[in-house]
Symmetry: C2
Subunit: 348 residues, 2 copies
């Protein structure tokens, strides 16, 4: 059989925050596209989207949509992936899934290409894209783990509303306008759409992302914990997370404490390791107030790290600050990079 040189790509959830970003990135990236199918729920079907100067009509995603599709990029929520990803696989497509539906499934590789590209080889038709807050953290933890060994991680996050989709961005925008106009702020969505209480996000901090689990942690916190262990191939890694939603539109930030195996390391050792890591940019110079922020990282492709310093009590402990665009590397870009590596390595 002749080797394929162009591919039919389906984007499921094409009108959502991540789906829109995927379509934008596909225009700029190196995947040779034979045909692009934009799929969505029935509600959004019929919308028109411009791609490469051509108008594409969004169609309702049904099992038959995946006939002749080579790669299907899913980001339409876990229930859609549960229902339609197996249908896509059955029809010969490889699925890259942006939801949490398959991430902890032991037959599904969970991949950040810079971190564990080799895991892609063992796919059975579905590859899971990790949670946004996990991706940027493991991009910095992996080079440290490889160079010095990693014992323990404690992270507190500073997360943007776009992680909850376009509706959450609209809610922050609306509450901000209400504040400026001297009106009471109305909250109808955050912290979690289906939960009982809704709280204002503008000028506030919500220590709840996704629903609470029985152990008192939120699902977002458990995602960071469990996904990091899987991606870093270390079930024994001690790791804890506190996840907080903030009035920021784009980019998640993280305050990370990492304890390494190797003794006697300096700040410079960690800085060099991060600075040389694939996909990571070191922005770290206190003397010139150089450090990443959500606004400086927005629309960029890389993971940015700064504020590296040594714990004052534990010689093996280091603190640093990690920022990345949650819709780019945190979602759409990583999804596309997975597809690129599948093609380049002929692992489709």
């Amino acid at each position: 059989m002749a080797e394929k040189t162009a591919f039919t790509i389906a984007v499921v959830g094409a009108t959502g925050a991540v789906g829109q970003k995927i379509v934008q990135l596909l225009e700029k990236k190196d995947i040779p596209i034979k045909q692009l199918k934009l799929l969505s729920s029935q509600r959004s079907a019929g919308k028109k989207v411009f791609f490469a100067n051509r108008e594409i009509t969004v169609e309702e995603a049904v099992p038959e949509s995946f006939e002749d599709v080579d790669i299907a990029l899913f980001s339409a929520g876990g229930s859609v992936s549960k229902k339609l990803a197996p249908e896509a696989v059955k029809r010969g497509a490889v699925v890259v899934d942006n939801t949490s539906a398959y991430r902890l499934d032991k037959d599904v590789p969970l991949v950040v290409p810079e971190v564990n590209e080799q895991d892609l080889q063992s796919h059975n038709g579905i590859i899971a894209n990790p949670n946004c807050s996990t991706i940027q953290m493991v991009a910095t933890l992996k080079p440290i783990q490889e160079a010095f060994g990693l014992k323990r991680v404690i992270v507190s996050t500073y997360q943007a509303v776009s992680g909850s989709g376009n509706e959450a961005c609209d809610e922050l925008e609306e509450q901000t306008k209400q504040y400026v106009n001297g009106e009471d702020m109305t909250a109808e969505l955050l912290p979690v759409k289906g939960d009982e209480k809704h709280l204002p996000i503008a000028f506030n901090a919500l220590p709840q992302i996704d629903v609470f689990q029985d152990n008192g942690y939120t699902f977002e916190e458990m995602k960071m914990i469990n996904e990091s262990k899987k991606i870093l191939h270390d079930d024994a890694l001690a790791i804890a997370a506190t996840c907080v939603r903030l009035p920021i539109f784009t980019s998640h930030a993280e305050s990370v404490y990492a304890e390494v195996e190797e003794n006697g390391l300096s700040v410079k050792d960690i800085q060099n390791t991060l600075g040389n890591a694939d996909g990571v940019v070191l922005e770290d110079d206190p003397q010139t107030q150089t450090y990443p922020t959500p606004l400086s990282a927005a629309e960029k492709e890389e993971v940015f790290a700064g504020r590296v310093r040594k714990d004052l009590d534990n010689d093996n402990g280091f603190h640093f600050w990690v920022v990345s665009d949650n819709l780019m590397k945190g979602a759409a870009l990583n999804t596309i990079q997975i597809a690129e590596r599948l093609i380049q390595n002929k692992w489709l």
Copy 2:
């Protein structure tokens, strides 16, 4: 000499964010006031302030302002305290200082009344009010230390702009309006007035509060570290801080990891200890999405704690979330409570 039943109080920095709050609180609190002197820089002198239905003219603070003053409450910046607090003491006043000028001076008690009231007895005319982010954290750490022993603390903060004064609130307000009007945001103040670079705070997160120290930590982070050790009377306490400024007007939040000496504790043990602590209110029930937020804590007097959970790897480790109004318990209220305890205990 007959015991005093009413006191002459001076407020230095009366037109600032904390000073204004002090004046408001003095109206509501139990300190019997003979005379209230409102003092400021030359620039703000002449302004009129209402107090107990009477107009008081703000005067320029000079050494002679403190003649006959019993208690002087300073919050006009470190340099003003350095210059004028000794002048006030020389004239017989007891100073409660809200700046960092004297906090680590070993002859100056650094006090949160619920935590270390007894330290007030050793004052030599000056008592220091701790940093806002320190106060709310030690209010929760002290009962834990007392009940179970405290080995280690790692904190990441979520801090409001009002900690940088009224100007910083104006800057957030201005940038927010610029965003709503589709204009570019202008940054002229934050993260630090005197530093070279200024960065937008609206819809952003700045991992710098106060200037950088030689060890890579900011002054705010070192304040939290050093002040907590002093207030908790434990120089050997392992403690690290990452301080972040956010687009929030009022109330600081903190993600705290605390490691205790005692083994085998449950979440309930920590919750009960926090819930019974003086000045602390436990708001913690994941089942009903009950936890404190900056907006819910604003204008309140207490320190609010929630999201208590056990570390998943360390049996002695607990994570929790602490929120308090940074101008109230974090500054003005704690200052006034110190004055109240001095009077009640006859320790003036």
